[in-house]
């Protein structure tokens, strides 16, 4: 196997094996990780734009005191849906989509572990997301905040269908998030290229792994909370009813047991993106790899010990709050490790100041600021002053937009050439960055001050004479600049997709395996499975800009027989090859199963008779999905 130049028929055979059928049926039956990952990302970005429009509506309403652009009810639905959509329909799906797309390429495999599960997860996401937005356009969207506290959201105070949409459709949606988490974990544990032992896993993959584990342990709490809420509302149970032995605080415990890790679920992959970009654009592997990987894991663990800090104002016992305050501040240490690891890497590197790196610098600026205000609100006496005020609004937008959206936009820009084969426009990229950076700070910095002056959250208007007018007007202007920046960014990508310069395999000189294949990658990702000897396989031996590197690289590959959709299964810790796994091909069953499960959930909303029908159909679809294919039956 000195040179693995196989005859051209191999490539043709692989293409045939791994391609998706044409036409609508083919589109519905696609299971390829790049197709599904891209669908997740595109759908999530569409929801991002819609929720952005909701944010602009909120800002318009608050531009001056006493405006009535939105009625109180419309305002409440707007801010609720803004939060719900950004958290559940944008942040998690876009990161899972990015993980699904990039992780198999980065670890050198040909698809996710359970390709049909990827497809199923997407259809569930789409069906649930459309339902939530459908409710919004019908004017009966959830209206009690994304945190949806009982008893306000309970049967006594929210008789309309609004909250049913929340409780039922979010549960439906979580199935998608959990499915993606399960297969991301298994893919990362079992399908890494030979030699990619645990100490060579790219930091981005580490972050996705920890994110997926956090989803596994956090989401069920929300599912249980929502199911109990819907039972209270529809079946007359009393989980949250203090008059019959229930407790409204139970909802808060369960919700924040999910809700706090949720913040880190969307933050961690962003940190991973930053590590990837920093390494590529400083031409240095990230310093302190072990410390950064361990701090990623530490953030995952710590974030499960913080939920009570959302409940300091509920009257929980004092000793408990001290514990949670200390635990909340502790999270500054692993975050600090990461920030200083990047700074050290930059100090040692040779910087290429392209748009993705600009986003990283913007991220560090905003994230450090958001982190510091985060430590402040973890101190209970301070928190009691600013809790539920605009200070908190400012804080978490710094953490989420600064900490997650900026790296995400940098990351999409960074991987865009790999996904499309086209280079994104650099000039427009910079413009969009600066518009976003300036617009963001204009919008949110003043909110710290507003909060300190006593402006509470979730109010649809305010009275003149509180002295809040000017800063609110500034925030509204900033929001439109920020929105313009987002639109420009997406327009840039769309234009580049159409007219962009050809990118080549590795336009940025990256070190990880995704850059070893063509842009966009072939259906089968890698003609043979690469092997890995270091954390930066593409920088080994050769200079990073050595043109022959990619060809050189193929010498160390493992060729799989091209008789079926085969991937290599490797050991969890050392990534030694263990076996070949035959993956299932395109299938309509994931779509039908998602539709059947949709019957169950939409049945709860509209007509209970659909629920048993959906359950029977779902069971049938599951059996059909897993029924062995004919060729397997041959002895």
């Amino acid at each position: 196997m000195a040179t693995l130049e196989r005859p051209p028929t191999t490539t043709q055979a692989l293409t045939r094996l791994w391609s998706t059928p044409a036409g609508l049926v083919g589109w519905l039956s696609a299971v390829n990780h790049r197709a599904i990952g891209a669908r997740f990302m595109v759908t999530a970005l569409a929801f991002f734009l819609l929720a952005g429009v909701q944010a602009l509506a909120i800002r318009l309403q608050l531009a001056r005191p006493g405006l009535s652009i939105l009625s109180p009810e419309a305002y409440n639905q707007n801010f609720t849906m803004h939060g719900v959509v950004m958290m559940f329909l944008f942040a998690i799906p876009v990161l899972e989509g990015l993980g699904m797309y990039i992780v198999p390429l980065m670890i050198g495999t040909r698809d996710m572990a359970f390709p049909r599960l990827s497809a199923f997860g997407y259809w569930v996401y789409l069906l649930a997301g459309l339902g939530l937005f459908g409710a919004f356009f019908l004017g009966s969207a959830p209206n009690s905040g994304w945190f949806n506290y009982v008893p306000l959201s309970g049967p006594g105070f929210s008789p309309g269908a609004n909250i049913d949409f929340y409780a039922v459709l979010l549960t439906f949606l979580e199935i998608s998030a959990l499915a993606a988490a399960v297969e991301l974990i298994v893919t990362i544990l079992k399908q890494r290229a030979p030699g990619m032992a645990i100490h060579r896993i790219p930091l981005f993959v580490w972050s996705i792994l920890v994110m997926a584990f956090m989803i596994v342990f956090a989401m069920p709490a929300l599912i249980v909370a929502s199911v109990m809420l819907e039972l209270d509302r529809a079946a007359g149970t009393h989980f949250y009813n203090p008059a019959a032995g229930g407790d409204p605080l139970l909802w808060q415990h369960l919700f924040w047991f999910f809700g706090h890790p949720e913040v880190y679920i969307i933050l961690l992959p962003a940190l991973g993106i930053v590590s990837a970009i920093v390494a590529t654009f400083t031409r240095r592997p990230v310093m302190g790899y072990t410390a950064v990987a361990l701090s990623t894991v530490a953030i995952g663990f710590l974030s499960f010990g913080l939920w009570v800090h959302h409940m300091f104002a509920t009257g929980v016992p004092l000793l408990g709050t001290s514990f949670f305050a200390a635990a909340s501040m502790m999270i500054a240490i692993p975050s600090g490790v990461q920030v200083f690891a990047w700074i050290a890497t930059i100090a040692n590197g040779r910087i290429v100041l392209k748009t993705p790196f600009l986003y990283v610098l913007g991220f560090i600026f905003l994230f450090v600021l958001g982190g510091i205000t985060g430590v402040m609100v973890a101190a209970m006496p301070f928190d009691l002053q600013v809790h539920d005020s605009y200070f908190v609004v400012a804080h978490f937008h710094y953490v989420i937009i600064g900490g997650m959206v900026f790296p995400l936009l940098g990351g999409l820009f960074y991987w865009f050439p790999k996904m499309t084969g086209k280079l994104p426009g650099e000039r427009l990229g910079r413009w969009s960055f600066w518009l976003q950076f300036i617009g963001f700070n204009l919008t949110f910095f003043g909110m710290h001050i507003l909060g300190f002056w006593g402006m509470p959250r979730r109010i649809y208007t305010y009275l003149p004479g509180f002295g809040w007018d000017f800063l609110n007007l500034v925030a509204t202007i900033g929001a439109f600049i920020l929105g313009l920046g987002f639109v420009l960014y997406l327009a840039n990508l769309a234009y580049s997709l159409w007219r962009g310069e050809p990118a080549g395999d590795d336009p940025w000189g990256g070190a990880t395996l995704e850059w070893a294949t063509t842009s966009p990658p072939p259906q089968y990702n890698f003609r043979a499975i690469p092997t890995v000897r270091s954390r930066t396989p593409l920088w080994d031996e050769e200079e990073p800009d050595d043109a022959d590197r990619a060809r050189d690289h193929t010498r160390r590959m493992v060729a799989l027989p091209d008789e079926g959709r085969e991937i290599l299964s490797t050991t969890v810790v050392d990534a030694r090859p263990q076996g070949r796994v035959l993956l299932p091909g395109p299938s309509l069953w994931p779509f039908w199963l998602a539709a059947a499960v949709g019957f169950i959930f939409y049945g709860m909303l509209f007509d209970l008779i659909l629920v048993p029908i959906g359950a029977v159909l779902a069971a049938a679809a599951l059996v059909a999905w897993h029924w062995p294919r004919e060729e397997e039956e041959a002895p």
């Binding site: 359970f114 109990m228 039972l231 407790d247 160390r556 060729a559 027989p561 897993h626 397997e632």
Partner: protein, 202 residues
Amino acid sequence: MSATTAPPAEALPVEVSGTQAPLWWGMLVFLAVDSTIFAALISSYFYLRVTQAETWPPAGLAPPGLLLPALSGAVLLASAGPVLWADRGLRRGDGRALRLGLPLACALAALFLILKAVEFVARPYLWSTNAYGSLVWTIDGAHAAHVLAALLQAVVVAVLAWRGHFTPRRRVGVETAALFWYFVVAAGLAVYATLYLAPRLI
């Protein structure tokens, strides 16, 4: 690692099982999700008991009877036996253990569900009586639904087994179904301890 040390892929097994198989790991992670769901339900049970109730069960309800649940719990526990027998048997190449063990386990699971149904109907309170009723019905109901799911899955696997689909090498489908079965039995023990033993012991 040079080209010569890269293992020839043709030498690797195609049918993988156990920890070699991604599907086995997938089931394990799914069970982690499911365990968290049960943990959240059981935590809610104890949370409401500690914060809201002076007596438990509240409102003059007697603690749940022990006999019928103990009987159904024993049946459930016993059902793990034939599953283990089938799983191990297939590994040794004993197809008979597989073909007989799974139907036997299904029969025991069905018996468990019947006993549960009797117990549900005989309860002197409903889910809508108070929060205690809500908890008991929901937790016990969620577990019964799991038993039903395990039963249906085992039926499908048994049909495949009778058609001769599984071999000692191609056995990951049986392994994962068995894994789920063991989990459902273990969850049943946790639910039993929570709903039936804890009110009397603590």
